[in-house]
Amino acid sequence: MVHPGRGAKVTTKLAAFRRVGVMVVRELALTALLLLGVSLVVFVILHLSPGDPFSVLLEGQAPGQAARASVREALGVPTTWYGRYLAWLGNMAHGNLGTSIRTGVPVAGEIVRAGPNTLYLTLGSLLVTLLLAVPLALYSAWRRSGALARALTLAVYLISAVPVFWLGYVVIYLCIHRFGLFPLLSATAEPQRHGWLYILLPIIVLGVANGTVSEVTRHLREELGRVMAEDYIRTARAKGAPVWRHAFKEGFLLPMTEMIAAKMPFVLGGAVIVEQVFNWPGLGRMAWQAAQDRDFPVIMGITIVAAAFVRLASLLRGVIYAGVNPRTATE
């Protein structure tokens, strides 16, 4: 290993920062391009759909041709699909995601109100997933064929195959009948004993049963195993040089960020279910309601925001990669 001098170290650091900067700019440009693509895909899917999104307004009256046309006129909907798309893009550029057809509420405001709840849920449950997966992966990378490692792996595989809403029911039932507490936000006006459990339960349930624990465990374990088995690590170890740093970076930090970024879309999806079971006021419930009502502006808005969120996670991964491992930035 080469040990550069002090001055050289500073310049490499600067260079690293610049590389990270370049990478961030490139990623941001890519993100913008991707979001454009996402919005186009969503729009095309919605455009191809045979249903009429304004039917929800005509519930309770005869939605004949004339009525449908008059709704469009009243709401000032552009007649061509690209007209609608461009109008949407134009609004989007001003941070306006349109208004919900069903409630008439600006979509952006609704997402800002409900978004943080989903954010807690998703990030919290990712943390739970990692808390489960990381120790297990470390342990089983260390004792590859130990009986305990096997048993734990089996257990993790088992729980990550549990249908998430059923687990939600089981947990709520247990809370009610074993611990005598009702773990829902819609609790009584007066503060509840163990009220904090309300926050934790959905997070734990989603963290355990979002179906990713097994994959995260497996990936981490393999990466760790692989890094530890690399030739130069073995050589370095044989020579008595400290290897934990490299092993941590290559075998742990990188795969972990990798998994977080890759699993974000799945966890967000799982939130749709958990939010319904636990009556959690987040984007997932909004998405489900919007899908039922064909509330296209809401669907568009949620998809874009969710996609942006996913891209953010991957941007973060890019930064960590570039910071830890400068090679990737120039790749």
């Binding site: 309770g60 009256q61 008059s70 029911y169 709520i172």
Partner: protein
Amino acid sequence: MKTLPRIVPLILTLTVLTTIPAASPAASKNDGRPDGGILAYGEYGRPATLDPITSNEMISLRITELVFNGLVGIDEKQAIVPELAERWEVSQDGRTYTFFLRKGVRWHPRDGEAPRLFTADDVLFTHNIMMHPKTITPLKVRYEFIEKVEKLDDSTVRFTLKRPILNALAKFSFKVIPAHGPANPQYLTREDPFVRNPIGTGPYIVKSISADREIVLMANEDYFKGRPHINKFLSKPFADQNIMTQAMMFNAIDMLVLVNPRDLPELQGDRRFVLQPYNALSYAFFGYNLRSPLLADKRVRRAFTHAVNRKEMLDAFFNGQGTIISGPFAPGSWAYNLDVQPLPYDPAKAVALLNEAGFTPGPDGVMQKGGKPLALSLKVPIEKESEAVKRVVLAFQNYLKAIGVSVKVEFKEWQAWKDAVFAEHDFDVILASWVFDDSADISSLFHSAEIGPWKNNFGGYSNPEVDGLIVESKLTLDHEKRRTINRKLHALLAEEAPYTFLWTLTNYSGYHKKLRRVAIHPYKFFSFADEWFIPAAEQK
């Protein structure tokens, strides 16, 4: 609430004949009952809007009942009572209705503003906004009978009708909104802030809506009928009915507007709760598409009715909470003919009827006629909470299988289902229910002029005799005579079986026993909520 087989949200016209009661002075509630306490009630789903004009689902309509008033109201005995109008006069020819408005009624105050007085202008405003072409509301078609509205003075308005219609008075129970309410004074869209933050004259004031559509309503100290007893109403939305019932069991909410039938036994066994039945003036049925040659013969339809064991279904799926019906009116209605008995469960008779109609068992066990098998498609809308619907349609399929009829159950997304049934008429059988808003006008269901896209006679039933009776019933102004005609109509439609009439389910509201003097309006629900109270000791 959608525990019933999907309610087709059709509100039929009112046909109750009522006497005009004397005007009463604004009541004060010095009735010795305590004020205070909070009532949190659970709703399955979230309301879209909170104003009475753009809202078109039950959750919203229930809220508007707490926030707004009509010119007239309908009391617990279905009689017309004064509300915002103190009294009224009807002209001899039945074409002009003059309402004398209650004086001194104030709109809910907006933050930092003094409350404004309710005047005739508000009534005109409400009518105009309702009828504006750019306002999207199911109310418009119901008020097309009004020719014009005039303001005679600040507290007198006169409605002129295009033609005299029966029971017009009940229609003036539409909710009045303030002229200074909506941001746009021309027409009302869902983008208007008023639809989320409405002000009315009613017993409760909308205080706040959370991101999750949890709505907080505070007592209106200034309510013209006297301050409502309960301080605060909380409307809590749920996305899962099982969880909602559990919320009730664990005191997270105090009331369920409609208890899911499968949860009735659980609540029944619990002394903390009261289950209060209320009649919803609705019934469920299997409707047939008479355009299909297989279903054109009434013997076939009668055979299906014989083949279906309604009692068994009612007992197994709904704990027996309902009444099996024989005809096209809700059994709570005066028009229902109790002399007509529901066809009994009799599969042998069903098979005999099918044979009579020319059907014989084919090689695969399915009845056929001229080589054409008796195979039907039953279309059902998809819903998340649909256990009852699934049970009934699958049981139907099973019952018909037993007499050699093959039924294919097809679940379709709600809008697609409506398109298939009401626009394209592409179905053989549907399961649905009608909800009547007061009583029994079935003309839009069975009159042959109502056949066509988006009309209610979706099955294409056409019978000159029925048409004649329907017209006759509409023209007559004599209540007894109408009753006789409707009884005849009932008997005729029971015989012809354009539907297999199933049952009227008893709706149960469940609530904590701390709530007292709970009277429930059959479909508006909260009409009398200002009288409900919670004893001081249980207010907490």
